[in-house]
């Protein structure tokens, strides 16, 4: 086995070669069309970004099968690890098995979450005291902005990981509807992430929202961000398309829509948003890129453009994007809670439909980010009302979670603890939401740390905590071994109080007048103590996550063998061996009952065709 | 028999193209004489529906046999 046989290595080499080729192409065409000067850094870099990403995809091999089809060559799907190489190498190259792709998504997501968290810890430390300690304002801005997009990209990857690994397993499908597209959709993230990290070299300072005119006037690092987000967005679109077809067309006999596992409903709702809204941010970022490159005046009032248009396009994606981030996590909560309550999921239909309702209402609320932007005042009240409406389907979920636990036989292993932590944290995020949705209060809280507190509580409650719960919960299915329960519990008991402190601390310094995205503050505001607390909490969270990573790596070798179904779950993926075999289901499964009838005697969800007698 | 079915299908294709052409000409004259954005968008919508239905045979999505 040589290094060259790893797709990732070939991809990176392809990206470097492509980057050079793209720059050369831009220089050549400037020469051809008589531009002066021939060398211009920004267009050359953009050419490099675009061709470099294509170079990566060619190098890694994500396009190989499609190139063969173009020449009329059939390419049967290869199953199992690659020939003549160790099995682990399949994770570093193009592989069409959804479980491999799910792990690829998940691990890349955790790594990127770590990078994003590292940026946060860096600038968080700077904020622990007023004045400048070790960052200058422009470094601070770059780290802050990078924290935003690195973390958001990590969340999209984490969701992709959960969806790709779990959805085909949960619906008893052999694989996703389009395995090659699935691999392509994962691998396009990697050049995107490389591009995003390259922006560090040039810097950019607009925060993740990159509003013009700042993002048009700022350093060239913006171009890297625009195109990185574009690539990651393309992955979202193609991945969600694949998931929708898989969910609609590949369910087993008997699994009607209202007998799907609730997580599948959540992924379906998420995919509907991802498929459609993502186009808007792609378009908005392309417009920014071309405003910089060609002077196209979309957002330039001097040329008749309108900066507020960008905000509309941006938030038409980025508000629903928050639901992309949290809906799968809320699905995980609803999925795990009944297992450890040994009771049916309370109000299954309502929960399923509330996901769809949140997704749909989410399209009508984007203007609540723009109360202070100077758009038409008549828009304020409608956007306020539509935003407050979101509380209804979200409340349905809370109600169902309480109803599920009520009178249940609760047990508290680590995944259950993280689910409960998620509910508590999401409650903080949820309760601070209406305060920001109400125009009158938002006018005062806009752009303060209160918003930061609200947003992080929503994302930690809706994504990070459930994601960790999912990792612990399905870890035995993925590796065949149990994680270390003690370390898991320490992780939880460090992270949860730390997060409460961080969240409430952020909100309180915000109320006291701390602006967001500002490198320094006036000690007279009285927020220094709050910042110290938030910084300590941030470090505690970072440490606890490192503990989890150690636990996951260590237990994969030394953990106790888990068996097929350590949680006594009814879901089909737990009825097959652990770790899940190459072909998940030896024979097609049939659904014969309701998914969450825990504790109801003689009830069956799935019929594992030939083994039926033994399993029931 | 096969041949006549084929000729019929080609004729249908041409008829649809003709309809679209007529609609485009109407569109152009509506723009000159009426200058109504709504009306123009309605004609465009009508043309789009024709293309989606007749040329893109969207109904194959839910036709049970799956072939044609």
């Amino acid at each position: 086995m040589t290094l060259w046989s790893l797709g990732l290595v070939r991809g990176v080499v392809g990206q470097i070669v492509g980057f050079a080729a793209g720059m050369a192409l831009v220089i050549a065409s400037r020469l051809l069309f008589g531009f002066d000067p021939v060398w211009n850094q920004e267009p050359a870099l953009v050419g490099g970004i675009i061709i470099g990403s294509i170079g990566f995809l060619i190098g890694v091999g994500a396009l190989t099968d499609w190139f063969k089809w173009m020449r009329g060559i059939e390419t049967p799907l290869h199953h199992g690890p690659p020939h003549g190489r160790p099995a682990w190498t399949r994770y570093f190259g193009v592989d069409y098995n959804h479980k491999v792709i799910g792990i690829q998504y998940g691990v890349t997501g955790i790594i990127l979450l770590g990078i994003g968290g590292m940026f946060a810890v860096i600038f968080r430390t700077e904020l622990a005291a007023s004045g400048f300690q070790f960052l200058n304002p422009s470094n601070y801005n770059t780290y802050l902005s990078m924290h935003g997009w690195a973390a958001l990209a990590a969340i999209l990857l984490g969701i992709g990981g959960m969806a790709n690994y779990l959805v085909p397993l949960m619906i008893g499908a052999e694989d996703m509807a389009f395995p090659r597209l699935n691999a392509f959709a994962f691998w396009i993230n990697v050049p995107g992430i490389i591009t995003l990290l390259m922006s560090l070299n040039y810097g950019w300072d607009g925060g993740w929202t990159v509003y013009p005119p700042l993002s048009v006037l700022g350093p060239v690092g913006y171009q890297f961000t625009f195109w990185a987000v574009f690539l990651i967005g393309l992955s979202s679109i193609l991945g969600s398309l694949n998931l929708i077809v898989t969910i609609l067309r590949m369910r087993p006999p008997g699994m009607s829509l209202f007998r799907m596992p609730i997580f599948v409903w959540a992924v379906f709702a998420t995919s509907l948003i991802q498929l459609t809204a993502t186009q808007f941010i792609g378009q908005a970022f392309l417009m920014l890129s071309f405003e910089r490159l060609l002077g196209m005046g979309f957002f330039d009032p001097d040329k008749g453009g309108a900066p507020i248009l960008f905000q509309h396009l941006f938030w038409f994606y980025s508000h629903p994007a928050v639901y992309i981030f949290v809906l799968p996590g809320l699905g995980i909560i609803s999925e795990i809670l009944p297992v450890f309550s040994r009771k049916p999921l309370f109000g299954y239909r309502w929960i399923a439909l509330s996901s769809i309702a949140i997704a749909l209402v989410g399209f009508l609320v984007w203007g609540h980010h723009m109360f202070t932007s100077g758009y038409g005042e008549y828009l304020r009240v409608p956007f306020m009302i539509s935003t407050l409406l979101v509380a209804v389907p979200t409340g349905v979920k809370f109600f169902s979670w309480l109803g599920t636990m009520w009178g249940g036989k609760l047990s508290f292993p680590t995944p259950m603890l993280f689910v409960l932590g998620a509910i508590s944290v999401f409650l903080i995020g949820g309760l601070s939401g209406p305060i920001l949705a109400t125009t009158a209060t938002d006018l005062f809280l806009h752009d303060t740390y209160f918003v930061v507190g609200h947003f992080h509580a929503t994302i930690f409650g809706g994504f990070v905590f459930p994601f960790f719960a999912a990792i612990y919960f399905w870890y035995p299915k993925i590796t065949g071994r149990m994680y270390d329960e003690t370390l898991g519990k320490i992780h939880f008991w460090l992270m949860t109080p730390a997060f409460w402190t961080m969240s409430l601390g952020q909100m309180s310094v915000g109320v006291m007048g701390m602006r967001r995205r500002i490198a320094d503050y006036d000690p007279a505001l009285g927020v220094e103590f709050g910042h110290v607390l938030v910084t300590i909490a941030g470090f505690t969270i970072a440490f606890s996550v490192l503990l989890m990573i150690y636990n996951l790596l260590h237990s994969a070798e030394t953990g106790r063998v888990a068996g097929n179904n350590p949680w006594r779950s009814r879901s089909p993926e737990w009825q097959i061996p652990s770790p899940a075999p190459e072909h998940s289901y030896a024979s097609p499964i049939t659904v014969v009952g309701e998914p969450y009838d825990y504790g109801i005697p003689n009830s069956t969800y799935v019929h594992m065709a030939p083994l039926a007698a033994a399993d029931d | 028999m096969n041949n006549s079915a084929r000729t019929k299908a080609y004729g249908r294709s041409a008829m649809i193209a003709l309809t679209l052409a007529v609609l485009t000409i109407i569109e152009f004259y509506v723009a000159i004489s009426l200058d109504s954005a709504i009306f123009l968008m309605l004609i465009a919508l009508f043309k789009a529906v024709i293309v989606v239905q007749a040329y893109m045979h969207v109904s194959r999505l839910w036709s049970p046999e799956g072939e044609h």
Binding site: A277, F298 | A9, L20, Y55
Partner: protein, 197 residues
């Protein structure tokens, strides 16, 4: 997406998945083009730039004609008429190129030596939106022409049959989709609103 040994039932299942996937892609793209239309109406309102009406009408007609030839090609392979099939594809690709030349050489004035355009992307918001809309559309026309070239080449070598021609079908409906987009872009760019000076 098929193996030689795959049963016909497997093919039909995959075909139905493919169709749904392609249509979902169209829905997604509709939001992209819809976003461009939103931009146009937000920034221009009830005005429009002075574009050459003759060019507009010609390229619209050419694209319409190409949809017709594309449908002929698809109908032909459904009935096993390979000559008309290949001819229809070739005509479609040529008409697509004519459309591109109309837009890029004449509307854009990409080669001032041949034709001096009247708008530049950096001029003002009119130039910006015209180039954004026609540019994004042209990108799809170019990819459609490449798609047609691939299908034509495979068809020339004996690929596709009346029973199995998803490659042709997807190429055809993609091309028609690009036409549908232009059906909305044409009035938005050339017809709606009063000319701004």
């Amino acid at each position: 997406m098929t193996t030689v040994t795959a049963a016909l039932e497997g093919y039909t299942q995959q075909l139905r998945n493919n169709r749904m996937g392609l249509w979902l892609f169209f829905i997604s793209e509709a939001f992209l083009f819809g976003g461009l239309l939103v931009t146009r109406f937000y920034l221009w309102g009830n005005t429009r730039p002075e574009l050459d009406q003759t060019i507009g009408l010609i390229v619209t007609g050419v694209l319409l004609l190409s949809s017709f030839s594309m449908n002929m090609a698809e109908t032909a392979i459904e009935h096993g008429d390979r000559r008309t099939f290949l001819g229809g594809l070739a005509v479609t690709a040529v008409l697509g190129l004519v459309f591109l030349i109309g837009v890029m050489v004449f509307e854009w004035g990409l080669f001032p030596a041949i034709y001096e355009g009247h708008l530049k992307p950096g001029d003002n918001v009119y130039g910006a939106v015209v180039f954004a809309m026609t540019g994004m559309h042209a990108l799809h026309v170019i990819s459609g022409i490449i798609f047609i070239a691939i299908v034509w080449n495979l068809g020339r070598k004996g690929g596709f049959s009346p029973e199995r021609h998803w490659g042709v079908e997807s190429c055809a409906i993609y091309w028609h989709y690009v036409d549908v987009v232009w059906i909305f872009f044409y009035p938005a760019l050339y017809l709606i609103g009063t000319v701004a000076h």
